[in-house]
């Protein structure tokens, strides 16, 4: 063989080999693609929803507050509400067209309603036909796709939610032969290649929607011939395996439409929200045209940075739609005249609540591994209350700032945490994990375990009430020496350093006397107190050391909220929940977390205890709360302070809300704050600001009777013999003796007479 032919042969062989290798490589790439697509095309992080607002006659909600809520939900205020998600203000009323929403318990259709108001509450609701509607459940706030991995975010739309015009527009503008080509469009490629050859650069794509999808899914941004070849091979493979409809749905959900800081905006669902603050189904022609135009270059035509360019591009798209007869000339002209109408970047995403979501994640962890939350497109319905959360965040931030200022503490030296629950449903509605509430850092509400201090005392007293003590029973507040398991002795002291002698239980608890509490707890048995705490919701029974009685046991604000929710719920325990239900993307309910209760203590005993916790707020260590609480709002609660003022606690409740606040320093340094001086100043403004709070006033159990006693002695008394009366509930027949000088003989006769009369009348 001559050298020349040999070289030629070698060259040909190399070329052939190279081509074969390339073909094999492409085939190998394409082979895996279908499976990866199957796995990835539904790659959608869980969507987490807040609790929906229920609107009904009598709800404490003024017209403009309602309008504010609607705006927060992304409803638009318009002159004449005809579309879903719009409303208008009328004198004393709001006219609204609600959105259709798929709740965990079924689809709620869109409806047109008039909600009328009187004073600061809802008067009634009427539908278009003038019928009264008893209750309206609004579509809930979306808390964002907080389980997204890698900073990507989706708002997945189902095939039936994609507007048909969008489908047609995508084909008309991006891929005219989409319905017939096999994944690549040879004619399109030839045209593009010709154009590229002319310009000498790789400018025109000629990419089909399928190729664009592949590029978004699997390939980086580099523009090389090899990548183009891989893209084409993969597109062909995808088209063989999936139908056009599936590919188009994936495209609509996947394609890149812009950038919001570190967050990539993928898909038309999120795009509609990001640019217009609307649902995809609510977009008008000019808005849809703008989004379709963005596909050519999301940063090039960014309507916020280059409004002129974006508008020009929108015109081009509209012209294509008219040429393809998808819209009329009049529609094109109308849309062309529209302003861009880009939403301001206030964004519902700025409301990021990592502390609450951490709790959601923990609750779901058992059933759903992180991969599933990040990719299975689950819909999670929670009890999150945006207003309560905002109120809690503000109360903590303001409270800590005020404490640092008025007590001359270093700025930023204090930290805190708050948990808010609804008593009856045992739902957590707000969690603040620290003063930087938007920061996903150390979550003190869940993870900071601190000595509970006097927050333990209600459980000592409840154990005593269960054992037959009454709130009027005397207990000695005298120096006491406790022998510990180690053989050492321990002599606790009162906060004020004094001993107060014989006092009734109600006073010992309201004033948080340590000596009386340790004595009472020793009489009842530490073991019983520890077991009671377990029954009321602590995961484990705390070790029954005497130090438990003064609050050495460490717990998190969340655990404290669990315990106090059981008290507020009358002794019925339910595990605190954040998640109500989880459904799949197509609306199937996968899991419900229903309300389940266990009677953990005697309701009558808990009723008595709570009466004492009301006295904490009226006469005891919590009375400074009245500075913030609305007049007449009955609350019950307890202060807590751990050794050397390291932890300041307050836990308490009204008729429907329970809140626990903790204030301290991250490095566990003493802050000098008691529960009343610190955490109470966070708790009280928080409770005062909660919407439509109702006072704590449960019906008295029939087995109890209400008696007035002298706060000092605990003896039965009236105004003639006591200057310091307090009313307590005691088991019938267990009323204490009358104090001296109350005119008891007369009264006894009187009450006998009354009983006698009642006996006749029965």
């Amino acid at each position: 063989m001559k050298p020349r032919t040999a070289r030629l042969g070698l060259g040909l062989a190399t070329l052939l080999g190279g081509a074969l290798m390339l073909a094999a490589y492409l085939a190998w790439q394409a082979a895996g693609i279908a499976e990866r697509f199957e796995a990835m095309r539904w790659d959608a992080p869980a969507q987490v929803y807040a609790a929906p607002l229920e609107v009904y006659a009598g709800l404490a909600l003024a017209r403009d507050e309602f309008a504010g809520e609607l705006l927060r939900l992304g409803y638009r205020e318009v002159a004449s509400p005809n579309r879903r998600g719009t409303f208008r203000r009328l004198p004393g009323a709001i006219e609204i067209v609600t959105r259709r929403f798929h709740f965990e318990d079924g689809v709620q259709p869109s409806r047109r309603l008039e909600v009328r108001f009187r004073a600061r509450e809802v008067r009634d609701l009427h539908d278009g036909a003038g019928r009264r509607l008893p209750v309206l459940r609004l579509d809930p706030l979306l808390l964002g796709n907080t389980f997204a991995a890698g900073g990507e975010d989706r708002m997945i739309v189902a095939p039936h939610e994609i507007p048909p015009l969008l489908v047609d527009a995508l084909k008309a503008v991006e891929d005219r032969r989409f319905d017939s080509h096999p994944g690549i469009d040879v004619l399109g490629i030839v045209r593009a290649a010709a154009a590229n050859l002319r310009s000498g650069r790789l400018e025109q794509g000629g990419s089909t929607l399928t190729q664009q999808l592949v590029k978004n899914y699997f390939l980086g941004a580099e523009r090389t011939w090899l990548r183009k070849a891989r893209e084409a091979a993969m597109a062909l493979a995808l088209e063989r395996r999936f139908d056009k409809h599936e590919i188009l749905t994936a495209y609509v959900n996947e394609v890149y439409l812009g950038q919001d800081g570190p967050r990539a905006i993928h898909g038309f669902g999120l795009g509609a929200q990001f640019y217009f603050d609307k649902r995809l189904s609510e977009l008008q022609l000019h808005e849809m045209a703008l989004l379709v135009g963005l596909l050519r270059g999301p940063s090039l035509y960014d309507p916020r940075r280059y409004p002129e360019r974006a508008r020009e591009r929108r015109s081009q798209v509209l012209a294509v739609l008219e040429r393809e007869r998808l819209i009329s000339a009049g529609q094109r002209a109308g849309a062309d005249d529209h302003e861009l109408g880009i939403a301001e970047r206030r964004g519902r995403y700025s409301t990021y609540h990592p502390a609450y979501l951490a709790l959601v994640r923990r609750q779901l962890r058992a059933q759903y591994p992180p991969e599933e939350l990040a990719s299975a497109g689950l819909r999670v319905f929670t009890a999150f209350d945006a207003l309560a959360q905002a109120q809690a965040e503000r109360a903590l931030a303001d409270g800590l700032e005020r404490l640092e200022r008025t007590r001359a503490l270093a700025i930023g030296s204090l930290e805190g945490a708050v948990v808010v629950t609804r008593a009856a449903s045992a739902e957590v509605i707000a969690v603040v994990g620290g003063r930087r509430s938007g920061f996903d850092g150390f979550n003190r509400a869940l993870d900071a375990r601190r000595p509970m201090g006097s927050l333990v005392k209600p459980f000592v007293y409840l154990a005593a009430l269960e054992a037959g003590y009454t709130l009027a029973s005397p207990v000695d507040d005298q120096p006491i020496v406790v022998t510990l398991d180690t053989g050492e002795t321990w002599s606790p002291a009162n906060f004020d350093g004094e001993a107060h002698g014989r006092v009734p239980l109600v006073r010992a608890l309201a004033q948080s006397y340590n000596l009386a509490t340790v004595r009472l707890g020793s009489e009842v048995g530490v073991e019983r107190v520890a077991q009671l705490m377990h029954r009321l919701g602590l995961n484990e029974t705390p070790p029954p050391y005497p130090s438990l009685l003064l609050g050495a046991h460490e717990l998190s604000p969340f655990e404290a909220a669990q315990l106090y929710t059981s008290l507020a719920n009358g002794g019925f325990r339910s595990p605190l929940r954040t998640v109500r239900a989880v459904s799949s993307r197509d609306g199937r309910t996968l899991e419900r977390y229903p309300l389940e209760i266990v009677q953990a203590s005697d309701p009558a005993a808990v009723y008595q205890l709570n009466q004492a916790l009301v006295q904490v707020m009226r006469k005891g260590t919590g009375r400074s709360a009245s500075k913030w609480l609305p007049e007449g709002l009955t609350a019950a609660g307890k202060t807590g302070t751990s050794g050397e003022f390291r932890d300041s606690w307050f836990a308490g409740f009204t008729g429907d809300h329970v809140a626990v606040a903790w204030v301290g320093a991250d490095d566990n340094r003493p802050t000098g704050l008691t529960g009343a001086a610190g955490a109470l100043t966070v708790w009280a403004p928080l409770i005062a600001g909660l919407h439509g709070a109702i006072g704590y006033s449960p019906p008295a159990p029939p087995s109890l009777e209400e008696v007035s006693i002298d706060y000092g002695s605990g003896l039965r008394a009236n105004r003639t013999c006591s200057k310091d009366l307090v009313s307590v509930a005691v088991p019938a027949g267990a009323a204490p003796e009358w104090a001296q000088g109350c005119g008891i003989d007369l009264r006894r006769v009187g009450s006998r007479l009354k009983e006698w009369f009642e006996g006749i009348l029965k």
Binding site: R111, L133, P134, P164, E282, Q599
Partner: protein
Amino acid sequence: MIRPALLLLAVLTAAGCAARAPAPRDDAPASGAAAPASPTGALMLLGREQLAAGNHPGAAAALERALRIEPADPELWLELARVRHAQGRDEQAAALARKALSLAAGRPALERSANALIEATARR
């Protein structure tokens, strides 16, 4: 090109049609002559309908909605107890009936019903 034009028409009128949507299936019913006007009354009715239809989770969900509005209404707790009883979840039914009892002072008829339910759960 008739089809796309129709589609467009559909898009543009979808919102309007939806506003005149037929009577809802899953939401609390709009009140007719006999239906209760109170939100909890309506939700309790919805719960009873769901219970009668054998949809226990749906019934419980409606009652939980009502309880969020009126947490101290013993009738709602008792109704939820009945749903659990119908599901054969006796322990839960008894606990819920006890919760109803704890709020039922001064309502003898309700107390009797709650006690009867507690006894029924104990017998099974």
